[in-house]
């Protein structure tokens, strides 16, 4: 089969798209892991025990957009360190696992997440 520049370019395009899709899937997985379980890459402590067992959805919202979320009422309080039920700062965490601000820490380390996944996907790590 004769290779032409256009067919080579098409193959390269497909390879790039496949790589981007792999990176995207990896980023979504790592974001979810960082928020729920915690991650050394982001420094997020993850959720306390009771919030690890609930459903955390990872929903695709577009070609390269996904939503990691939960509907649990206490998740927001744990995230912000504020008891929205009583209107005061949370001063106790009834769990030996996890901590506060995992979503914010994950967000703040977005570049580290992407770099880590790219290294894994491209084999450069």
């Amino acid at each position: 089969m004769v290779s032409t520049f256009s067919t080579d370019l098409g193959k390269f395009d497909l390879k790039c798209k496949a790589t981007v899709a792999q990176v995207f899937d990896g980023v979504v997985a790592l974001v979810g892991e960082s928020i729920v379980i915690g991650s050394g890459i982001t420094g997020a402590p993850g959720q306390p025990e009771d919030l690890r067992d609930i459903e955390w959805r990872r929903l695709p919202e577009g070609e390269l957009v996904a939503l990691v979320s939960t509907t649990d009422k206490s998740a927001r309080s744990v995230e912000d360190g504020i008891s929205y039920k009583y209107g005061t700062p949370l001063k106790k965490l009834k769990s030996n696992l996890g901590g506060f601000h995992s979503v914010k820490l994950t967000h703040a380390a977005g570049d580290k997440i992407v770099a880590s996944v790219v290294r894994t996907v491209t084999g450069t790590g």
Partner: protein, 225 residues
């Protein structure tokens, strides 16, 4: 390795210097309702209901902090009012960081007067610690984390007091702002930069607004013998 106590103190000190609104030195009188000015405008200076203010240049009792109930260009009505004092130049009224501050692991200030005075809380959140260069001994290490300030404003006072307070704080921590601690520079991160949260009404007469300040700092790695 960064000294997190020193770095946290640097962030806290910067927050404490915030000025939300000020009259600057001007002519002011005290009245049973609060304060009156013949020149200038409290509104133009940025004062709003729900703000805690600190007067200066009056007698000791009138210099006590108070909370604004309502404000016009020339009058400021405060909770509890003031003993009358005739107008005099060189006085001022300033609104800054609320004086009730729940620093980490300290007594909660709202217990004394729930829903009466605004207050702030802080959280220092260290996150990552990574070696950036080799060899390990003497190499660069980068640390990252968050400094989170939560402004607890008074409910049913509108948004101006809280939003202006948080905005003034945000302006103190714009991306690239450098804070020094033990010779190490810690920078406010730019992507993402400072995140100003939404106003969330609480159950006890407060409305919270959280300011998240991401930071990163480098230092020289020392490998202990």
């Amino acid at each position: 390795m960064l000294d997190h106590i020193e770095v946290r103190n640097a962030f806290r000190l910067r927050a404490e210097t915030v000025v939300v609104s000020t009259t600057g030195p001007t002519t002011l009188s005290a009245t049973p309702a609060g304060f009156v000015r013949p020149l200038g405008s409290f509104l133009t200076d940025g004062f709003a209901p729900g703000m805690e203010i600190l007067p200066a240049g009056f007698n000791v009792a009138n210099n006590a902090p108070a909370v604004i109930e309502s404000v016009t260009a020339t009058t400021m009505t405060i909770t509890g009012g003031r003993a009358a004092q005739v107008a005099l130049a060189g006085r001022s009224v300033v609104s800054g960081l609320p004086l009730a501050r729940q620093w980490e692991n300290t007594q909660t200030p709202y217990l004394n007067a729930p829903g009466v005075r605004p207050y702030v809380s802080e959280q220092w959140v260290p996150a990552t610690f990574s070696l950036l260069s080799f060899p390990a001994a003497g190499g660069d290490v980068e640390e990252s984390g968050l400094y989170i300030l939560t402004w607890f404003g008074l409910a049913n006072k509108g948004i101006l007091a809280i939003r202006r307070g948080v905005k003034a704080l945000k302006a103190k921590f714009t991306p690239g702002t450098v804070l020094l601690a033990s010779g190490n520079a810690v920078r406010v991160w730019g992507n993402p930069g400072v995140l100003e949260g939404q106003l969330i009404p609480l159950e006890n007469g407060y409305v919270s607004c959280q300011l998240t300040i991401p930071w990163r700092g480098t230092s020289i790695n020392i490998v202990a013998a």
